[in-house]
């Protein structure tokens, strides 16, 4: 590892540093005020390491939640991580001893930095991913512990500062949009999620969204899997149609609610495998 690589990693992770210090501070203050101080904060940031889940943990802890309801809440809130894994299998292949940590540390924010193909030239990509992941968790731990220690001393009005994370994702989305040859996956992601949000409401929409995005992308594979070919409007419509066709079954799965969410995840994987099998049969 050389100094130049470290510099590139720091520059790359500055946006997450900003967001994590701010959100971490918020979480630290919240947890400390709820009676779970520095030791608890440190434990959660080291072992759970999932921002929105840790915010939710504070209310679970203070409301005396059961082990089962905590497990289900985690399943619902963090199911989107299944998605990150699926799209990083190829890139994390051959990472050796670094792989378990790379997978463990795959948060929303880390994913937004490693999902692009912009590893600096001449650098071992796995070392690069590892340093990015590690720096991000260090920022998160620093922010949250700092919040627990000095948080109450902050006097300016910080309301709305948590928008930094939304802004990070908007920025990554725009950056991808500007560099992508094909905008259908991005549009599909937004449209399907908005439709699911309207249908299922803000507590339940993520899992149906994930299933439908996966189904839509697999159904549209033949058209989307050749990056050099320009894709026209009529083909965009075809993807939307195929998504609509798959929605009935997905809705049924989603209706089984919180208890069925692991089933839904398994279903998502099964859908992918079915589609893959079907694909191979056709020359």
């Amino acid at each position: 590892m050389n100094r130049n690589l470290m510099k590139q990693v720091i520059i790359k992770t500055i946006p997450v540093m900003t967001g994590y210090l701010v959100l971490g501070l918020g979480f630290g203050i919240l947890s400390e005020n709820a009676g779970y101080g520095i030791g608890w904060v440190l434990a959660m940031s080291v072992f759970i390491y999932a921002g929105s889940m840790q915010y939710l943990m504070v209310s679970l802890l203070t409301s005396g939640a059961s082990v089962i309801s905590t497990a289900l809440a985690t399943l619902m809130v963090n199911a989107r991580h299944l998605f990150y894994g699926i799209s990083m299998i190829g890139r994390y292949k051959g990472a050796g001893k670094k792989k378990p940590y790379l997978i463990f540390a795959l948060t929303d924010e880390t994913y937004s930095l490693v999902c692009g193909d912009d590893t600096p030239p001449g650098v071992d990509p796995h070392l690069y991913y590892f340093l990015v992941s590690l720096c991000n968790q260090i920022y998160w731990i620093t922010g949250t512990v700092l919040g627990a220690v000095i948080g109450s001393a902050i006097t300016f009005n910080t309301a709305g500062i948590d928008f930094a994370m939304t802004a990070l994702f908007v920025t990554v989305f725009v950056e991808q949009w500007l560099t992508a040859k094909n905008h259908i996956p991005a549009v599909a992601g937004v449209v399907i999620t908005v439709v699911c949000l309207i249908i299922f409401g803000s507590d339940l929409f993520l899992i149906p969204s994930m299933i439908m995005i996966l189904a839509g992308l697999m159904l549209g594979r033949r058209r989307l899997d050749c990056p050099d070919r320009p894709v026209g409007e009529n083909e965009a419509a075809a993807v939307e149609e195929s998504v609509a066709a798959g929605s009935g079954k997905d809705a049924a799965v989603a209706e089984s609610g919180a208890a069925g969410s692991d089933k839904a995840a398994a279903e998502a994987v099964a859908v992918v495998e079915m589609k893959a099998a079907g694909k191979e049969e056709q020359p």
């Binding site: 500055i14 946006p15 900003t18 959660m44 759970i48 390491y49 889940m53 943990m57 679970l60 203070t62 005396g64 082990v67 905590t70 497990a71 985690t74 399943l75 989107r80 299944l82 998605f83 894994g85 699926i86 799209s87 299998i89 190829g90 890139r91 994390y92 292949k93 997978i103 463990f104 994913y111 937004s112 910080t158 309301a159 709305g160 928008f163 930094a164 939304t166 802004a167 994702f169 908007v170 920025t171 989305f173 725009v174 500007l178 905008h183 996956p185 991005a186 992601g189 937004v190 399907i192 999620t193 949000l197 803000s202 929409f205 993520l206 992308l217 594979r221 899997d225 995840a265 694909k279």
Partner: protein
């Protein structure tokens, strides 16, 4: 709540989170050669997921009730435009966040 119970809840949450992160690799990552559809998903999913994450972050807005999600959508638009203009991640994030803080602290209170 006892400390033991609190520790148990944290352990359970950590375990489930790790399970969700490891599951795709355990189920689909074992083969020596990555299946073609996984390579394909690795290419197209990031775009769709970022779209999903943006919507996920904005899920709390209330289009039918004041302030109709105006601060969030306006700040997101400012972030996006700044990024198209300067292509500088830090400028986009700082600009969008400051814009949002000003909006909700002074204009949409």
């Amino acid at each position: 709540m006892t400390d033991t119970h609190a520790a148990a809840l944290i352990a359970v949450s950590a375990g489930v989170t790790a399970l969700l992160r490891f599951l795709p690799f355990l189920l689909l990552g074992g083969k020596r050669k990555t299946p073609e559809f996984i390579t394909y998903l690795g290419k197209v999913l990031p775009y769709a997921i970022m779209g999903m994450l943006v919507v996920y972050c904005l899920r709390g807005i209330t289009p039918l009730v004041w302030p109709h999600g105006i601060p969030e959508l306006l700040a997101a638009a400012v972030t996006a435009l700044l990024h198209v203009w300067r292509r500088n991640t830090l400028v986009s994030i700082a600009g969008g966040t400051i814009c949002y803080m000003v909006l909700i602290q002074f204009l949409f209170v």
